[in-house]
Symmetry: C2
Subunit: 83 residues, 2 copies
């Protein structure tokens, strides 16, 4: 069993409207020292299997085909073996 | 300047519809070995200031008042000094 954490972030220069609106709300609450808010999504996948290389390939495929948009996102994969 | 990473996750037992639907889509793509998908949100805040204790207090307040719902979420804060 493996746990794969996929972290999906917007590329530099791509606008992050959720981050911008969160920043506005933070300022409205009076926290004026906050300069920037970026949002990051993480998908935590639990995967059956014994071959870490196969799991890596599968997660890479899942990222490219489903979880991310290569035009606007970059992503990182961290895989850990679970007992 | 400080960078605060706020990780917001659903509490155990709270359903994660986005994770459930992502899992369905992954299965439809043919990756049947994926057992579970959990989604996690991270807010990356850039905060002006010199006093880490004040920054910690502010981020704690921002979490409680805006970023999280204590009924369904638990959160973690990691603060790092930036040059």
């Amino acid at each position: 069993m493996f746990e794969a954490k996929v972290t999906v972030q917007l590329k530099k220069g791509i606008s992050d409207p959720e981050g911008v609106n969160t920043l506005k709300a933070i300022h409205l609450l009076g926290f004026k020292k906050v300069q920037q808010v970026k949002t990051i999504r993480t998908f935590d996948l639990l995967i059956d299997g014994t071959d870490i290389n196969q799991v890596k390939k599968d997660v890479e495929q899942i990222c490219q085909r489903l979880l991310t948009n290569p035009v606007i996102h970059h992503y990182e994969i961290a895989i850990e073996q679970k007992k």
